[in-house]
Each structure stands twice: as C-alpha cells, then as structure tokens.
Amino acid sequence: MLYSIGFTLKSPNLCPTIRGNLKETLEEIPYSEQPVYGLPVSKPGTLFRSSVIDEAELEKELKRSVLWERLRGYRRYGEKNVERPPLPLHTGHLGLLLASGCLDGVVGEGEDKHIVRGKVEKVSHKQDEYKGDMLIEKEIESHRVSVKILKKDGEIITLM
C-alpha cells in the first residue's frame, strides 16, 4: 500500500484550485506489480575519446588481436584431414604423403625446422615413330613428382 505524504501550503498566492485539491482527502494509489508511469527515454550518452593514440596500449591490443589467430587458421587452409589409417604407415608411405602435398608447410622444430612443398605435375612430350612408311606422332603424358624443402638458412633442396 502506497501513501503520499506532504505538507499543506498556506501561501495566499497559491492557486485556489490547487488549494482546494490539497484540502481534499487524496485517494489511495492502488498497488501494482508493473509501474504505472514509465520513465522517459534519455538520449544516448556522449562518448568522448582522445584523437591521440597511446602507442603502447595499441601495441598490446594488436598483439592480443583475434586477427592473428584467424590468420593462422587461414594458413592451415587447404590442409587435408588425413584419417587415421587402419595399419601404421611405413617409410614408403612418407614419400607418397610428401608427393601428394599432404605434408606441405612447416615441419620440424628448432634448428631442424624447414618448409616442405610437394607437388605432382603433369608433363607431356611428343615422340615420333615410323611404322613402315607411316609417321606416327605420339604424345606421351606422365606425372612428375617434385618435393622440395626450404631450410632456415635459405637453402632449397630438391629431394625428387
């Protein structure tokens, strides 16, 4: 239950209507769960910021930026999800994985860290053959495997 408490004004200059209302018994305001009168919506607060950037603070924020992590994710773009094989791989499989590009990227740790790039290129060459008086021109296509590694000192080694 809510009551309104106030003082009776005895100013002679008070409006007669108000004075008359004040003398009357005020009605009790009924109880309500919800507010009867809504608060007026205020304007959004003004945000002030300095035009001078704190470089040390910006450097910290840049180091923490999510973009670097996102970029690392993009670096892994194109990596194939190789399922676990039913039997363990042997050394021969390593060559296949390298040649197919499954192991492309940074490999190894510390001084042994290097970059591997394997690819298979289609190459074709023409070959002429005589069958009697007839010249037969053949185009032979084959796939050439290339595996290269780049070492930390910049040396590029061609494995195949």
Binding site: L47, R49, S51, I53, E55, E57, L58, E59, E61, L62, K63, S65, V66, L67, W68, E69, R70, L71, R72, Y74, R75, Y77, G78, D104, G105, V106, I115, R117, K119, E121, K148, L150, I156
Partner: protein, 126 residues
C-alpha cells in the same frame, strides 16, 4: 615497436597515418602482408588505398614505399579494438593458396626487430 604507415595523395589533399606492427614485402616492393591499427577511418583509408592500387609509405628507419604486387589479389581481415580503434590485416591471396606455378608459398619473419610478433613472415618460393 610500432611503425607509422602513411598514405598521401597531394592532388586530393589526403594525408592519413596509422600504425603497423608487422608487414612483409619483397625486393620489388610488393606487399604481401600489412597489419594496421589505429582510428577506424584512417586504417580503412590506408588499406583501401593499398588494395585499390595506390602506394603507401612505411616510416621505418628508412621510408619504405610499397604497393600491391602485379596481378596479386588481396584480402582484408578486420576486427574492432577497444576505444573505437580498428585493426586490419591486408594479405595477398598467395599467402593462403600456394601457386602450383611457383608463386610465394608462405611467409616467415622479415626483419630482426619483428621477431616475437604473432606471425612469422618470410617469403619462400617453390
């Protein structure tokens, strides 16, 4: 340590500056990666100018004038930082997709003082 990066167009009266914490370019001054932070408008102005073929300056110990590589496509990654600042990374598409014809494979560190930054940048060629 951050370095300043600037785009200037005297004809149009444009001179904007932001800060970079990492970049990679080759001997032909073609940019492969640029990380820029600063006020929203300035960062966008620099990255937009770059990807639309304009050249920018990195105010390092020497002024490095860099631009986009010929025929290279670029991607802009963007995120907001606190205090209404913006961080954008401009990267060449080759950074993500190694070319079968022998383009840039990936990148590692470019400068000694850039060591310790989140991404190591170095150009390697197949």
């Amino acid at each position: 340590m951050l370095e300043r990066v600037r785009y200037t167009d005297y004809y149009r009266g444009i001179d904007v500056e932001a800060l970079t914490d990492g970049y990679a370019y080759d001997e032909y001054s073609s940019l492969y990666l640029l990380s820029v932070g600063g006020h929203d408008g300035k960062v966008k102005a620099i990255t937009s100018a770059l990807v639309s073929g304009r050249r920018i300056e990195i105010l390092s110990e020497d002024v490095i004038n860099v631009g986009t590589g010929f025929g290279q496509k670029y991607r802009i990654l963007s995120t907001k930082l606190p205090d209404a600042l913006l961080h954008q990374i401009v990267t060449a598409e080759g950074f993500f997709k190694p070319s079968d014809r022998g383009g840039p494979l990936l990148a590692r560190q470019n400068r000694p003082e850039m060591h310790g930054y989140p991404l190591e940048i170095e150009m390697a060629y197949t």
